[in-house]
Amino acid sequence: MFNSEIETMSESKMKELQLERLKWSIRHAYDNVPHYRKTFDDAGFNPDQFKTLDDMRRVPFLTKQDMRDAYPYGLFAVPLSKVVRVHASSGTTGNATVVGYTKNDVEVFSEVVARSLACYGVTENDIVQNAYGYGLFTGGLGAHYGAEKIGAITVPISGGNTPRQIMIMKDFGSTVLCSTPSYALNIADYIESNMPDFDMSSLKLKIAVMGAEPWTEEMRQQIEKRLNVDAFDIYGLSEVIGPGVSAECTEKSGLHVFEDHFYVEIIDPDTGEILPEGSEGEIVYTSLTKEAFPTIRYRSKDITRLYHDSCRCGRTLVKMDKVTGRTDDMLIIRGVNVFPSQIESVLMQEEGTEPHYQIIVDRKGTMDEIEVMVEVNEKVFSDEIKVLDSLAKSLAHRVKSTLGITAKIKLVEPKSIPRSEGKAVRVIDNRKK
């Protein structure tokens, strides 16, 4: 455990710590960021009225749109001279959101990533190959600083150039791989299809630190089997800090939230009401220590639940379920809510099908149509059309029986779905015009 005092703190002591820090964070935001001052004032809420955790319900939410509107520095709470780093989200659906860090914020960021790595069993004796992209994306530098903080050898290879990744992995004796889960499978694919004589036992890899996109248990099993590793989830959002908001432990059941830095609530996404512990809903984040970019009640759109389960790893931190969908990614197909990850689960239950898929949504007249492109590899290919037809039918049937929607399964050639070196593009929605 990287910080056992915090990670094993009793629930009541943690609540005291959170309350004290919340008072500071809410006051800090109100005093230094015009946006918070305005929304708090409009809601008739004054930070002085914040006395107990129950008062959280009176604090207005912050949305992704608020962040976009504040582009680039509108939500910063310190003078720019105190900011030492910025990161930004890609901004594919509007203005990028820019987040800032003071020296102390970078320190906190490194600490929570180091704690996460320690959760998986990473130590100073490890060699961490960091295949997250270095750049505005928080993943690259986030994992880098965390790995250094833990004292491991950090290999800043960044994403892409798969043959080189494999060579470095072998020559440097990397024991830990940090990447998106889709990129980890890309590496496995490359070895399997281009390096038939490659001896997997020549790799020392044992831990895969997977994050930055939602992934399923089925995908975990594939990564673990094909790369011969234990794969763990690292979760985070740049709006809150980056990776390291929460992490799985070796139990692989739920993620511990580093709640001394991030206060979490579950709300009903429709009404905004706080839901009791154990209920599923949208998770909302409030930073407790961040100086440059406080986030007060940020609506993440991630669907999960929170619970305490006296985890066998000994951590007392609140746990959240693995996030397999964001309300943003959620597709509404003829009125049915569908997460891409559900389709992924269905596909991977069929023997031999690849974890590479793409969902295309279109509207024909008034009807939504969904087409799932699935790559045909040699495990499922046959010279007989009827066998291929029945594969497509069987997948369509599984989608129908699991999700209740009719999807067209389109069989496509291997490698025709673009491979990602960062976040995979799972959905192309042609309805939005």
Binding site: N377, F381, I385, E413
Partner: protein, 145 residues
């Protein structure tokens, strides 16, 4: 006496069959005969090639999904009604044909048809007993190259 067929998965889009043929041409592999089974989205290109093993290896290397299947090449008299007679015989023997296609050249002045039977061993046994002329791989592709 089985004939080796290579089948490749191709999307039903311009240039996709050409992509397969390019790999064969680049590796000096000759096509003895071929046929395409098509559906709305994809097709299966079935080919008899002079170097099937090399073809399989090279196609896979180029990320083209393919498979190796044993089929039977059977001589059929080049006269009206001869194919019908052959098929009636298969039917009597309860041999189910998955698909069939014709050869581009004659052997012993007879037409040659390629048959993909559900159960090739059963078909072979029955056809040999019946005195059908089954053509060996070596007669089609020559010595193993």
């Amino acid at each position: 006496m089985n004939v080796t067929q290579i089948s490749a998965f191709v999307e039903n889009k311009p240039g996709h069959i050409a992509g397969v043929l390019k790999v064969l041409a680049d590796n000096n592999i000759n096509i003895i005969t071929l046929t395409v089974a098509d559906t709305a989205d994809f097709g299966v290109l079935r080919m008899i090639l002079d170097k099937p093993e090399l073809a399989k290896a090279k196609l896979s290397e180029n990320s083209i999904t393919c498979s190796v299947t044993d089929v039977l090449a059977i001589e059929i008299d080049d006269t009206p009604g001869a194919l019908l007679k052959a098929l009636e015989a298969f039917s009597n023997l309860e041999l189910n044909i998955e698909y069939m296609y014709a050869f581009t050249q004659k052997i012993h002045d007879n037409a040659v048809m390629i048959f993909r039977f559900e159960d090739i061993e059963k078909a072979k046994k029955a056809l040999v007993e019946k005195g059908c002329r089954i053509i060996r791989n070596i007669d089609i592709i020559g010595e193993d190259k």
